[in-house]
Symmetry: C2
DNA sequence: TTGACAACATACTCGGTAGTATGTTTGCGT
DNA sequence: ACGCAAACATACTACCGAGTATGTTGTCAA
């Protein structure tokens, strides 16, 4: 009999992951206790520890999931058969959208990068960190490729690649720091904001569309 | 008799502030213990608690100092009697430089903004947070003013002011996330990096100098 | 029916940490 | 010389939080 193997590990697993993402996002790693996550689930520690052997493993799982989400956001654009500018635009829009729509996961992702700070204690943890840095690098490389293509074709102005790439990415990541999800999950505004951000970011590369309008609705 | 009132509160105070900034930067607020700061000073908790009544007060002091440093970085440019573009360039260069040269304080500053997350527990703490947000707002307003001037004069292209401002500032703040201070405190490279960042950021506003060179020395 | 296991909840241990209470030294005014 | 207070260090308390050990309930197969 074929088990319902569609769910990655069962819905419970997903529930905990989601709750953990929100807690880590709101309070950071250190300030978040397993009890906090459990309370957020309306349960107790037992349930969390039944699925995750340690707090660090839980965090790593959230981080890994966040990385998947980030990749999923840019891959359609990356795989598009188009010129570098259009590919970059699609990738950037996808990323900016994800930054807002999956806000919790994305903030945890950025926190996780800074978490070299917490010092990789165990050997296993060092491996997890190394793997994560490799993924982060792969993510950046996808953008770097398209930027290099654009520079070679003379359609993008890039000074120092490393600095420009970092500046470009941090601009797309910007919403993580100031965007707060709407109570009504309206995606329209998200698209408008993403559009503005991508336009600004791409102008930094010397790419300028003539669409100077902004469709952001300033609520009340 | 006039006491040596030059030192803000005595050198000891400054030492602790500096050590705390480095610890908070490396490990974040929650993961940093008072004992950690004390060990970093080669002393014990007693010394820290002699100058700061609580961990939160210590953090607030670091945060306030960081805010001062940030203001000092942009004020010369802001006060310059020049056109908006030149003022913005000076402000931006000053800010980008500070982001690298005072790396610890600046990272704590950004962490502190996200610290609404930790929930303002006491009434006093809520006031400190409110005051800090007001200062942050004043800081942003200095940039907003110059951007508005530039837009009015038609020398800057700004879509949605709020989004553009946030994108512009986060670009300048970028180094906080990837810059690591050199062992030799060489400032030359810092200037070159800042120059590249500011060029990218200002291009996003439609301001383009024709200086397409990058003088960053890629070590080894 | 029963045994066995998954899916938790409950009750603990134990190390770390904020904050406090209490020494101890040093310098300085008188 | 003496008192005294600043500037710490030391010792302690109280609590919280990660991890563990054990109990409880439902389900399902034989």
């Amino acid at each position: 009999m074929s088990a319902p193997a569609q769910k990655p590990k069962s819905d419970r697993y997903e529930e905990i992951l989601e709750a953990a993402a929100e807690c880590f996002q709101k309070q950071g790693f250190s300030a978040t206790s397993i009890d906090t996550v459990a309370r957020h689930l309306g349960s107790t520690k037992g349930r969390v520890y039944h699925y995750f052997p340690s707090k660090m493993d839980l965090f790593n799982a959230v981080r890994d999931r966040a990385m998947e989400i980030a990749f999923d956001g840019i891959r359609p654009g990356y795989d598009t058969d188009a010129d570098p500018i259009e590919r970059l635009r699609l990738m950037s829009m996808g990323h900016a959208r994800v930054m807002m729509l999956r806000h919790s996961y994305m903030q945890v992702l950025l926190d996780g990068l800074q978490m070299q700070r917490y010092g990789a204690t165990t050997e296993f943890q060092r491996q997890a960190m190394a793997r994560h840095l490799a993924e982060r690098n792969a993510f950046e490389t996808m953008f770097r490729e398209v930027l290099t293509l654009g520079a070679d074709q003379g359609v993008m102005t890039i000074g120092h690649m490393s600095i420009t790439l970092q500046s470009y990415l941090i601009t797309l990541n910007g919403p993580v720091f100031w965007y707060r999800p709407r109570s009504d999950g309206s995606a329209d505004n998200v698209d408008a904001i993403a559009h503005d951000i991508v336009r600004y970011a791409m102008r930094g590369l010397g790419i300028d569309d003539n669409d100077n309008t902004s469709t952001i609705s300033t609520g009340a």
